[in-house]
Protein backbone atom coordinates (compact mmCIF):
# COMPACT_ATOMS: atom_id res chain seq x y z
CA UNK A 1 0.00 0.00 0.00
CA UNK A 2 2.58 2.50 1.04
CA UNK A 3 4.35 1.86 -2.22
CA UNK A 4 1.44 3.18 -4.16
CA UNK A 5 -0.15 5.63 -1.78
CA UNK A 6 1.71 8.81 -0.83
CA UNK A 7 2.36 8.67 2.92
CA UNK A 8 3.40 12.26 3.41
CA UNK A 9 0.31 14.23 4.42
CA UNK A 10 1.13 17.11 2.12
CA UNK A 11 1.65 14.86 -0.87
CA UNK A 12 -1.51 13.02 0.04
CA UNK A 13 -3.48 16.21 0.05
CA UNK A 14 -2.04 17.25 -3.29
CA UNK A 15 -2.83 13.86 -4.73
CA UNK A 16 -6.43 13.93 -3.62
CA UNK A 17 -6.80 17.48 -4.85
CA UNK A 18 -5.48 16.53 -8.24
CA UNK A 19 -7.89 13.60 -8.31
CA UNK A 20 -10.68 15.96 -7.41
CA UNK A 21 -9.82 18.52 -10.04
CA UNK A 22 -9.35 15.90 -12.76
CA UNK A 23 -12.65 14.26 -12.05
CA UNK A 24 -14.47 17.56 -11.67
CA UNK A 25 -13.02 18.77 -14.95
CA UNK A 26 -14.54 15.77 -16.65
CA UNK A 27 -17.86 16.33 -14.95
CA UNK A 28 -18.05 20.05 -15.71
CA UNK A 29 -16.73 20.27 -19.23
CA UNK A 30 -19.48 20.93 -21.75
CA UNK A 31 -20.24 18.14 -24.22
CA UNK A 32 -18.30 18.07 -27.46
CA UNK A 33 -21.26 19.52 -29.34
CA UNK A 34 -21.70 22.28 -26.83
CA UNK A 35 -17.99 23.06 -26.96
CA UNK A 36 -18.28 23.51 -30.72
CA UNK A 37 -21.29 25.79 -30.23
CA UNK A 38 -19.38 27.86 -27.71
CA UNK A 39 -16.35 28.15 -29.99
CA UNK A 40 -18.64 29.25 -32.80
CA UNK A 41 -20.37 31.71 -30.48
CA UNK A 42 -17.03 33.23 -29.47
CA UNK A 43 -15.87 33.69 -33.03
CA UNK A 44 -19.06 34.91 -34.61
CA UNK A 45 -21.33 36.34 -31.92
CA UNK A 46 -18.74 37.76 -29.51
CA UNK A 47 -16.76 38.40 -32.68
CA UNK A 48 -19.39 40.73 -34.08
CA UNK A 49 -18.18 43.36 -31.59
CA UNK A 50 -14.76 42.03 -30.55
CA UNK A 51 -13.65 40.94 -34.04
CA UNK A 52 -13.54 37.43 -35.47
CA UNK A 53 -9.87 37.20 -34.53
CA UNK A 54 -10.79 38.73 -31.14
CA UNK A 55 -8.35 41.58 -31.55
CA UNK A 56 -11.11 44.10 -30.89
CA UNK A 57 -13.71 46.15 -32.71
CA UNK A 58 -16.36 48.31 -31.05
CA UNK A 59 -15.58 46.15 -28.01
CA UNK A 60 -12.06 45.68 -26.61
CA UNK A 61 -9.57 42.96 -27.60
CA UNK A 62 -10.17 39.51 -26.11
CA UNK A 63 -6.74 38.16 -26.99
CA UNK A 64 -5.14 36.21 -24.13
CA UNK A 65 -2.30 38.72 -23.88
CA UNK A 66 -4.77 41.56 -23.37
CA UNK A 67 -6.72 39.71 -20.68
CA UNK A 68 -3.78 38.77 -18.41
CA UNK A 69 -4.70 41.42 -15.86
CA UNK A 70 -8.37 40.47 -15.82
CA UNK A 71 -9.11 37.84 -13.17
CA UNK A 72 -11.40 34.90 -13.98
CA UNK A 73 -14.11 36.22 -11.68
CA UNK A 74 -14.10 39.58 -13.43
CA UNK A 75 -14.51 37.91 -16.83
CA UNK A 76 -17.18 35.59 -15.44
CA UNK A 77 -19.13 38.54 -14.04
CA UNK A 78 -18.75 40.47 -17.31
CA UNK A 79 -19.89 37.61 -19.53
CA UNK A 80 -22.73 36.54 -17.26
CA UNK A 81 -24.12 39.95 -16.40
CA UNK A 82 -22.73 42.34 -19.00
CA UNK A 83 -21.16 45.70 -18.17
CA UNK A 84 -23.34 48.64 -17.31
CA UNK A 85 -22.71 51.76 -19.35
CA UNK A 86 -21.18 49.82 -22.23
CA UNK A 87 -22.61 47.81 -25.13
CA UNK A 88 -21.66 44.50 -23.43
CA UNK A 89 -24.89 42.56 -22.84
CA UNK A 90 -25.45 39.80 -20.26
CA UNK A 91 -24.99 36.33 -21.79
CA UNK A 92 -26.52 34.55 -18.79
CA UNK A 93 -29.61 33.46 -20.72
CA UNK A 94 -27.45 31.57 -23.22
CA UNK A 95 -24.45 30.23 -21.31
CA UNK A 96 -24.40 28.76 -17.80
CA UNK A 97 -21.91 29.77 -15.15
CA UNK A 98 -20.07 26.45 -15.47
CA UNK A 99 -19.93 26.76 -19.23
CA UNK A 100 -18.64 30.30 -18.80
CA UNK A 101 -15.81 29.03 -16.56
CA UNK A 102 -14.85 26.48 -19.20
CA UNK A 103 -15.14 29.20 -21.85
CA UNK A 104 -12.75 31.49 -19.95
CA UNK A 105 -10.21 28.76 -19.16
CA UNK A 106 -10.19 27.13 -22.57
CA UNK A 107 -10.95 29.87 -25.05
CA UNK A 108 -9.76 33.11 -23.48
CA UNK A 109 -6.56 32.10 -21.65
Amino acid sequence: MSLFWPCNRHAQLLFSLSLLSTSSAFALDPSQNRQEELRNMLKHDCGSCHGLTLKGGLGPSLLAQDLVNKPDDYLLETIQNGRQGTAMPPWKPFITEQETRWFIQTLLR
Partner: protein, 397 residues
Protein backbone atom coordinates in the same frame (compact mmCIF):
# COMPACT_ATOMS: atom_id res chain seq x y z
CA UNK B 1 -19.20 46.59 -71.16
CA UNK B 2 -15.56 45.70 -71.57
CA UNK B 3 -14.03 43.93 -74.50
CA UNK B 4 -11.00 41.83 -73.80
CA UNK B 5 -8.46 41.81 -76.59
CA UNK B 6 -5.89 39.16 -77.39
CA UNK B 7 -3.41 41.11 -75.36
CA UNK B 8 -5.10 40.17 -72.09
CA UNK B 9 -1.99 39.60 -70.17
CA UNK B 10 -1.18 35.96 -69.37
CA UNK B 11 -1.69 34.82 -72.92
CA UNK B 12 0.00 37.54 -74.91
CA UNK B 13 3.02 35.42 -75.74
CA UNK B 14 1.46 32.04 -76.34
CA UNK B 15 1.11 30.75 -79.89
CA UNK B 16 -1.77 31.99 -81.97
CA UNK B 17 -3.66 28.70 -81.82
CA UNK B 18 -3.56 28.66 -78.04
CA UNK B 19 -4.71 32.24 -77.79
CA UNK B 20 -7.58 31.40 -80.09
CA UNK B 21 -8.56 28.56 -77.78
CA UNK B 22 -8.34 30.81 -74.75
CA UNK B 23 -10.30 33.47 -76.53
CA UNK B 24 -13.13 30.99 -76.89
CA UNK B 25 -13.33 30.47 -73.17
CA UNK B 26 -13.53 34.04 -72.12
CA UNK B 27 -10.80 36.35 -73.28
CA UNK B 28 -12.70 37.95 -76.11
CA UNK B 29 -16.14 37.22 -74.76
CA UNK B 30 -18.10 40.40 -74.19
CA UNK B 31 -19.58 40.63 -70.74
CA UNK B 32 -21.24 43.32 -68.66
CA UNK B 33 -20.89 43.55 -64.90
CA UNK B 34 -24.38 44.84 -64.04
CA UNK B 35 -25.59 41.45 -62.83
CA UNK B 36 -22.48 40.51 -60.90
CA UNK B 37 -21.86 40.66 -57.20
CA UNK B 38 -19.76 39.46 -54.30
CA UNK B 39 -20.52 37.24 -51.32
CA UNK B 40 -18.20 37.60 -48.34
CA UNK B 41 -17.17 34.35 -46.68
CA UNK B 42 -16.03 34.95 -43.12
CA UNK B 43 -14.27 31.68 -42.51
CA UNK B 44 -12.04 30.70 -44.16
CA UNK B 45 -11.89 34.27 -45.41
CA UNK B 46 -12.69 34.50 -49.11
CA UNK B 47 -15.11 36.07 -51.54
CA UNK B 48 -17.29 34.45 -54.16
CA UNK B 49 -18.04 36.32 -57.36
CA UNK B 50 -21.61 35.56 -58.36
CA UNK B 51 -24.03 36.23 -61.18
CA UNK B 52 -27.56 37.29 -60.29
CA UNK B 53 -29.03 36.41 -63.70
CA UNK B 54 -27.93 32.80 -63.57
CA UNK B 55 -27.86 32.51 -59.76
CA UNK B 56 -24.47 30.90 -60.07
CA UNK B 57 -21.12 31.30 -58.40
CA UNK B 58 -18.38 32.27 -60.87
CA UNK B 59 -15.25 31.99 -58.79
CA UNK B 60 -13.76 32.18 -55.33
CA UNK B 61 -10.87 34.46 -54.37
CA UNK B 62 -8.91 33.72 -51.21
CA UNK B 63 -6.09 35.25 -49.17
CA UNK B 64 -7.95 38.40 -48.31
CA UNK B 65 -7.12 38.54 -44.60
CA UNK B 66 -9.81 38.93 -41.93
CA UNK B 67 -13.15 39.46 -43.66
CA UNK B 68 -15.39 39.53 -40.61
CA UNK B 69 -17.65 42.56 -41.01
CA UNK B 70 -16.18 43.16 -44.46
CA UNK B 71 -18.01 45.47 -46.84
CA UNK B 72 -17.67 46.50 -50.46
CA UNK B 73 -18.08 49.48 -52.77
CA UNK B 74 -17.88 49.40 -56.55
CA UNK B 75 -16.07 51.59 -59.05
CA UNK B 76 -18.31 53.80 -61.17
CA UNK B 77 -17.85 51.52 -64.19
CA UNK B 78 -18.95 48.62 -61.93
CA UNK B 79 -15.91 46.64 -62.99
CA UNK B 80 -13.93 46.79 -59.77
CA UNK B 81 -14.97 45.90 -56.23
CA UNK B 82 -13.13 47.46 -53.28
CA UNK B 83 -13.22 45.24 -50.21
CA UNK B 84 -12.76 46.70 -46.74
CA UNK B 85 -11.52 44.00 -44.35
CA UNK B 86 -11.62 44.08 -40.58
CA UNK B 87 -7.84 43.83 -40.40
CA UNK B 88 -7.35 47.07 -42.32
CA UNK B 89 -7.01 45.29 -45.64
CA UNK B 90 -8.15 47.20 -48.72
CA UNK B 91 -8.37 45.02 -51.80
CA UNK B 92 -9.33 45.90 -55.35
CA UNK B 93 -10.91 43.06 -57.33
CA UNK B 94 -11.43 42.94 -61.09
CA UNK B 95 -14.85 41.34 -61.61
CA UNK B 96 -14.15 40.61 -65.26
CA UNK B 97 -10.88 38.83 -64.68
CA UNK B 98 -11.78 37.22 -61.34
CA UNK B 99 -8.61 38.45 -59.71
CA UNK B 100 -7.04 40.78 -57.20
CA UNK B 101 -5.53 43.81 -58.89
CA UNK B 102 -4.15 45.54 -55.78
CA UNK B 103 -4.14 44.89 -52.08
CA UNK B 104 -2.81 46.96 -49.17
CA UNK B 105 -3.07 46.88 -45.38
CA UNK B 106 -3.92 50.46 -44.52
CA UNK B 107 -4.71 50.26 -40.79
CA UNK B 108 -4.88 47.88 -37.83
CA UNK B 109 -8.63 47.58 -37.47
CA UNK B 110 -11.24 49.00 -39.82
CA UNK B 111 -14.97 48.95 -40.26
CA UNK B 112 -16.06 50.19 -43.67
CA UNK B 113 -15.57 52.44 -46.62
CA UNK B 114 -17.04 54.58 -49.35
CA UNK B 115 -16.26 55.80 -52.86
CA UNK B 116 -16.36 59.47 -53.85
CA UNK B 117 -18.90 61.10 -56.14
CA UNK B 118 -16.36 61.26 -58.99
CA UNK B 119 -15.24 57.68 -58.36
CA UNK B 120 -11.62 58.64 -57.92
CA UNK B 121 -11.30 58.41 -54.15
CA UNK B 122 -11.78 55.51 -51.75
CA UNK B 123 -12.31 56.40 -48.09
CA UNK B 124 -11.86 53.88 -45.27
CA UNK B 125 -13.09 54.33 -41.70
CA UNK B 126 -10.79 52.90 -39.06
CA UNK B 127 -11.06 51.90 -35.41
CA UNK B 128 -7.28 51.64 -35.03
CA UNK B 129 -5.83 54.16 -35.57
CA UNK B 130 -9.15 55.99 -35.26
CA UNK B 131 -9.80 58.08 -38.34
CA UNK B 132 -10.41 58.05 -42.08
CA UNK B 133 -7.86 57.45 -44.80
CA UNK B 134 -8.39 58.41 -48.41
CA UNK B 135 -6.86 56.48 -51.30
CA UNK B 136 -6.73 56.74 -55.07
CA UNK B 137 -9.25 54.27 -56.51
CA UNK B 138 -6.89 53.77 -59.41
CA UNK B 139 -3.67 52.93 -57.58
CA UNK B 140 -4.69 52.63 -53.88
CA UNK B 141 -2.04 55.21 -53.06
CA UNK B 142 -2.68 57.21 -49.89
CA UNK B 143 -4.01 60.66 -50.73
CA UNK B 144 -5.16 62.04 -47.39
CA UNK B 145 -5.17 61.00 -43.75
CA UNK B 146 -7.82 62.35 -41.37
CA UNK B 147 -7.14 61.31 -37.75
CA UNK B 148 -10.33 61.45 -35.66
CA UNK B 149 -8.84 63.61 -32.94
CA UNK B 150 -10.95 64.75 -30.03
CA UNK B 151 -10.68 65.73 -26.37
CA UNK B 152 -7.21 65.41 -24.93
CA UNK B 153 -5.47 64.27 -28.12
CA UNK B 154 -7.44 61.03 -28.24
CA UNK B 155 -8.41 59.16 -31.38
CA UNK B 156 -12.01 58.08 -31.81
CA UNK B 157 -13.24 54.99 -33.62
CA UNK B 158 -14.99 56.04 -36.81
CA UNK B 159 -18.32 54.61 -37.97
CA UNK B 160 -21.08 55.42 -40.46
CA UNK B 161 -18.83 56.59 -43.29
CA UNK B 162 -20.74 57.53 -46.46
CA UNK B 163 -20.11 59.47 -49.66
CA UNK B 164 -22.23 62.57 -50.23
CA UNK B 165 -22.82 65.03 -53.09
CA UNK B 166 -20.18 67.66 -53.95
CA UNK B 167 -17.28 65.28 -53.39
CA UNK B 168 -17.83 64.91 -49.65
CA UNK B 169 -17.44 62.10 -47.16
CA UNK B 170 -19.43 62.12 -43.93
CA UNK B 171 -18.70 60.01 -40.86
CA UNK B 172 -19.35 59.74 -37.13
CA UNK B 173 -16.96 59.50 -34.18
CA UNK B 174 -18.14 56.73 -31.85
CA UNK B 175 -16.09 57.77 -28.82
CA UNK B 176 -16.36 61.52 -29.33
CA UNK B 177 -20.05 61.82 -30.27
CA UNK B 178 -19.33 63.97 -33.31
CA UNK B 179 -20.25 64.04 -37.01
CA UNK B 180 -17.62 65.27 -39.48
CA UNK B 181 -18.18 66.38 -43.05
CA UNK B 182 -14.98 66.17 -45.12
CA UNK B 183 -14.84 68.08 -48.39
CA UNK B 184 -12.46 66.42 -50.86
CA UNK B 185 -12.80 68.81 -53.78
CA UNK B 186 -9.13 69.49 -53.30
CA UNK B 187 -7.73 66.23 -51.86
CA UNK B 188 -4.44 67.87 -50.89
CA UNK B 189 -6.34 70.36 -48.75
CA UNK B 190 -9.18 68.53 -47.07
CA UNK B 191 -11.74 70.83 -45.47
CA UNK B 192 -13.54 69.43 -42.44
CA UNK B 193 -16.68 70.71 -40.83
CA UNK B 194 -17.23 69.26 -37.35
CA UNK B 195 -20.54 68.89 -35.56
CA UNK B 196 -20.01 68.27 -31.84
CA UNK B 197 -22.25 66.96 -29.05
CA UNK B 198 -24.49 65.13 -31.46
CA UNK B 199 -25.27 62.40 -28.87
CA UNK B 200 -23.47 59.53 -27.19
CA UNK B 201 -21.92 56.65 -29.11
CA UNK B 202 -23.12 56.98 -32.69
CA UNK B 203 -22.83 53.37 -33.88
CA UNK B 204 -23.75 53.62 -37.57
CA UNK B 205 -25.32 56.07 -39.99
CA UNK B 206 -27.05 56.33 -43.32
CA UNK B 207 -27.54 58.78 -46.13
CA UNK B 208 -30.93 59.29 -47.76
CA UNK B 209 -30.98 58.16 -51.41
CA UNK B 210 -31.20 61.78 -52.58
CA UNK B 211 -28.05 62.58 -50.62
CA UNK B 212 -29.74 65.20 -48.48
CA UNK B 213 -30.00 63.70 -44.98
CA UNK B 214 -27.32 62.03 -42.89
CA UNK B 215 -28.71 60.20 -39.88
CA UNK B 216 -26.63 58.57 -37.15
CA UNK B 217 -28.04 56.02 -34.72
CA UNK B 218 -27.04 56.57 -31.09
CA UNK B 219 -26.25 53.65 -28.85
CA UNK B 220 -25.67 55.70 -25.72
CA UNK B 221 -28.53 58.14 -26.12
CA UNK B 222 -32.18 58.21 -27.09
CA UNK B 223 -33.18 58.98 -30.66
CA UNK B 224 -31.07 59.63 -33.73
CA UNK B 225 -28.86 62.50 -34.88
CA UNK B 226 -30.01 64.18 -38.09
CA UNK B 227 -27.92 66.43 -40.33
CA UNK B 228 -29.68 68.17 -43.22
CA UNK B 229 -26.94 68.71 -45.79
CA UNK B 230 -29.04 71.34 -47.51
CA UNK B 231 -29.03 73.37 -44.28
CA UNK B 232 -25.85 72.49 -42.41
CA UNK B 233 -25.92 75.87 -40.68
CA UNK B 234 -28.87 74.56 -38.66
CA UNK B 235 -26.59 71.99 -37.10
CA UNK B 236 -27.38 68.45 -36.03
CA UNK B 237 -30.86 67.88 -34.62
CA UNK B 238 -32.08 65.05 -32.44
CA UNK B 239 -35.03 63.14 -33.83
CA UNK B 240 -37.25 60.72 -31.90
CA UNK B 241 -35.79 62.04 -28.61
CA UNK B 242 -38.59 60.52 -26.58
CA UNK B 243 -38.67 57.20 -28.30
CA UNK B 244 -38.79 54.29 -25.86
CA UNK B 245 -38.40 56.55 -22.85
CA UNK B 246 -40.65 54.41 -20.70
CA UNK B 247 -39.58 51.05 -22.08
CA UNK B 248 -36.93 48.95 -20.51
CA UNK B 249 -34.07 48.70 -22.96
CA UNK B 250 -33.19 45.09 -23.63
CA UNK B 251 -29.59 43.96 -23.93
CA UNK B 252 -28.29 44.22 -27.50
CA UNK B 253 -26.56 41.12 -28.86
CA UNK B 254 -25.70 42.65 -32.20
CA UNK B 255 -25.50 46.30 -33.15
CA UNK B 256 -28.17 47.27 -35.69
CA UNK B 257 -27.06 48.56 -39.06
CA UNK B 258 -28.42 51.66 -40.68
CA UNK B 259 -27.13 50.92 -44.15
CA UNK B 260 -29.90 51.15 -46.67
CA UNK B 261 -32.48 53.84 -46.19
CA UNK B 262 -35.73 51.98 -46.14
CA UNK B 263 -38.28 54.38 -47.54
CA UNK B 264 -41.73 54.22 -48.99
CA UNK B 265 -43.19 57.57 -49.94
CA UNK B 266 -42.45 59.80 -46.99
CA UNK B 267 -41.96 56.98 -44.56
CA UNK B 268 -38.63 55.83 -43.29
CA UNK B 269 -38.13 52.48 -41.56
CA UNK B 270 -35.38 52.06 -39.00
CA UNK B 271 -34.36 49.36 -36.50
CA UNK B 272 -35.08 50.16 -32.85
CA UNK B 273 -32.08 49.64 -30.60
CA UNK B 274 -32.76 47.18 -27.79
CA UNK B 275 -36.41 46.70 -28.75
CA UNK B 276 -38.31 44.14 -30.80
CA UNK B 277 -39.60 46.85 -33.09
CA UNK B 278 -39.16 48.55 -36.42
CA UNK B 279 -39.82 52.28 -36.21
CA UNK B 280 -41.71 54.11 -38.91
CA UNK B 281 -40.87 57.81 -39.17
CA UNK B 282 -42.52 60.50 -41.28
CA UNK B 283 -39.73 62.19 -43.17
CA UNK B 284 -41.57 65.51 -43.43
CA UNK B 285 -42.06 65.98 -39.72
CA UNK B 286 -39.52 63.49 -38.32
CA UNK B 287 -42.27 62.22 -36.03
CA UNK B 288 -42.82 58.60 -35.13
CA UNK B 289 -45.75 57.22 -37.11
CA UNK B 290 -45.81 53.66 -35.89
CA UNK B 291 -43.86 51.04 -33.98
CA UNK B 292 -44.17 47.72 -35.76
CA UNK B 293 -43.62 44.74 -33.44
CA UNK B 294 -41.26 42.10 -34.84
CA UNK B 295 -39.92 38.81 -33.47
CA UNK B 296 -36.52 40.04 -32.35
CA UNK B 297 -34.11 42.96 -32.31
CA UNK B 298 -33.79 44.12 -35.91
CA UNK B 299 -30.32 44.36 -37.44
CA UNK B 300 -30.93 45.24 -41.10
CA UNK B 301 -34.15 46.94 -42.17
CA UNK B 302 -33.97 47.11 -45.94
CA UNK B 303 -36.46 48.26 -48.55
CA UNK B 304 -36.92 46.39 -51.79
CA UNK B 305 -35.82 48.82 -54.54
CA UNK B 306 -39.43 49.84 -55.26
CA UNK B 307 -40.05 50.47 -51.56
CA UNK B 308 -43.15 48.29 -51.26
CA UNK B 309 -41.57 45.67 -49.01
CA UNK B 310 -39.29 46.11 -46.04
CA UNK B 311 -37.18 43.06 -45.16
CA UNK B 312 -35.88 42.70 -41.62
CA UNK B 313 -33.34 40.33 -40.07
CA UNK B 314 -32.55 39.93 -36.39
CA UNK B 315 -29.88 39.78 -33.73
CA UNK B 316 -28.92 36.64 -31.83
CA UNK B 317 -30.82 34.62 -30.62
CA UNK B 318 -33.66 35.29 -33.11
CA UNK B 319 -31.38 35.25 -36.13
CA UNK B 320 -32.81 32.27 -37.99
CA UNK B 321 -35.74 34.35 -39.18
CA UNK B 322 -36.54 37.14 -41.59
CA UNK B 323 -39.76 39.16 -41.56
CA UNK B 324 -41.27 41.19 -44.36
CA UNK B 325 -43.27 44.37 -43.72
CA UNK B 326 -45.73 45.66 -46.27
CA UNK B 327 -45.03 49.36 -46.66
CA UNK B 328 -48.65 50.20 -47.42
CA UNK B 329 -50.29 48.27 -44.59
CA UNK B 330 -47.42 48.85 -42.16
CA UNK B 331 -47.60 45.32 -40.91
CA UNK B 332 -45.80 42.04 -41.29
CA UNK B 333 -46.99 40.05 -44.28
CA UNK B 334 -44.49 37.21 -44.23
CA UNK B 335 -42.13 35.42 -41.86
CA UNK B 336 -39.44 33.20 -43.31
CA UNK B 337 -36.84 30.93 -41.76
CA UNK B 338 -33.96 30.94 -44.25
CA UNK B 339 -31.48 29.24 -41.92
CA UNK B 340 -29.22 29.57 -38.93
CA UNK B 341 -27.68 32.97 -38.24
CA UNK B 342 -29.03 35.16 -41.04
CA UNK B 343 -26.53 37.99 -41.43
CA UNK B 344 -27.39 39.99 -44.52
CA UNK B 345 -29.85 40.49 -47.37
CA UNK B 346 -29.31 42.01 -50.80
CA UNK B 347 -31.90 42.71 -53.49
CA UNK B 348 -31.22 42.13 -57.16
CA UNK B 349 -31.15 45.50 -58.94
CA UNK B 350 -34.90 45.87 -59.54
CA UNK B 351 -35.91 43.75 -56.60
CA UNK B 352 -37.17 40.54 -58.21
CA UNK B 353 -35.04 38.39 -55.94
CA UNK B 354 -33.37 38.76 -52.58
CA UNK B 355 -30.21 36.90 -51.59
CA UNK B 356 -29.92 36.01 -47.91
CA UNK B 357 -26.84 34.71 -46.12
CA UNK B 358 -27.30 32.07 -43.39
CA UNK B 359 -23.92 31.95 -41.70
CA UNK B 360 -24.23 28.83 -39.59
CA UNK B 361 -25.91 26.82 -42.35
CA UNK B 362 -23.15 27.76 -44.81
CA UNK B 363 -25.77 28.72 -47.37
CA UNK B 364 -26.94 31.70 -49.38
CA UNK B 365 -30.65 31.36 -50.11
CA UNK B 366 -32.34 33.17 -52.98
CA UNK B 367 -36.03 34.08 -52.67
CA UNK B 368 -38.47 35.48 -55.18
CA UNK B 369 -39.76 38.60 -53.41
CA UNK B 370 -43.25 38.48 -54.83
CA UNK B 371 -44.05 34.80 -54.18
CA UNK B 372 -41.65 34.43 -51.18
CA UNK B 373 -40.65 31.08 -52.70
CA UNK B 374 -37.09 29.87 -52.44
CA UNK B 375 -35.75 29.66 -55.97
CA UNK B 376 -32.17 28.59 -55.45
CA UNK B 377 -29.36 28.28 -52.95
CA UNK B 378 -25.58 28.36 -53.07
CA UNK B 379 -23.07 26.84 -50.67
CA UNK B 380 -20.79 29.40 -49.02
CA UNK B 381 -18.41 29.22 -46.05
CA UNK B 382 -19.90 31.21 -43.16
CA UNK B 383 -21.36 33.79 -45.55
CA UNK B 384 -21.95 37.32 -44.29
CA UNK B 385 -22.27 40.42 -46.48
CA UNK B 386 -23.70 40.20 -50.01
CA UNK B 387 -23.03 43.13 -52.35
CA UNK B 388 -24.29 43.53 -55.90
CA UNK B 389 -22.65 45.77 -58.49
CA UNK B 390 -25.80 47.90 -58.77
CA UNK B 391 -24.44 49.67 -55.68
CA UNK B 392 -21.95 51.34 -58.03
CA UNK B 393 -24.52 53.96 -58.89
CA UNK B 394 -26.09 54.64 -55.54
CA UNK B 395 -25.03 57.34 -53.11
CA UNK B 396 -24.35 56.43 -49.53
CA UNK B 397 -23.85 52.71 -50.08
Amino acid sequence: MIKHSFSCSPFSKVPLLLSLIFSQIGCTELRGTGDLGVIIEREPAAIQLINTSTNKSLSRITELGDLSHASIVYSRDARYAFIFGRDGGLTKIDLLQNKITQRIIQAGNSIGGAISQDGELIAVSNYTPGGVKIFSSDTLELIADIPALYGDNQLSKVVGLVDAPDQKFIFSLFDAGEIWVANLKNPTQVKIEKFKNIGKQPYDALLSPDGRYYIAGLFGDRGLALLDLWSPEQGVKRILPDYGKNDEKMPVYKMPHLEGWAMAGNLMFIPAVGQHEVLVVDQNTWQLVKRIPVIGQPVFVMARPDGRQIWVNFAFPDNAQVQVIDAKELQIVKSLTPGKAVLHMEFTPRGKNVWISARDDNQVIIYDTSSFKEISRLPANKPSGIFFSSRAHKMGL
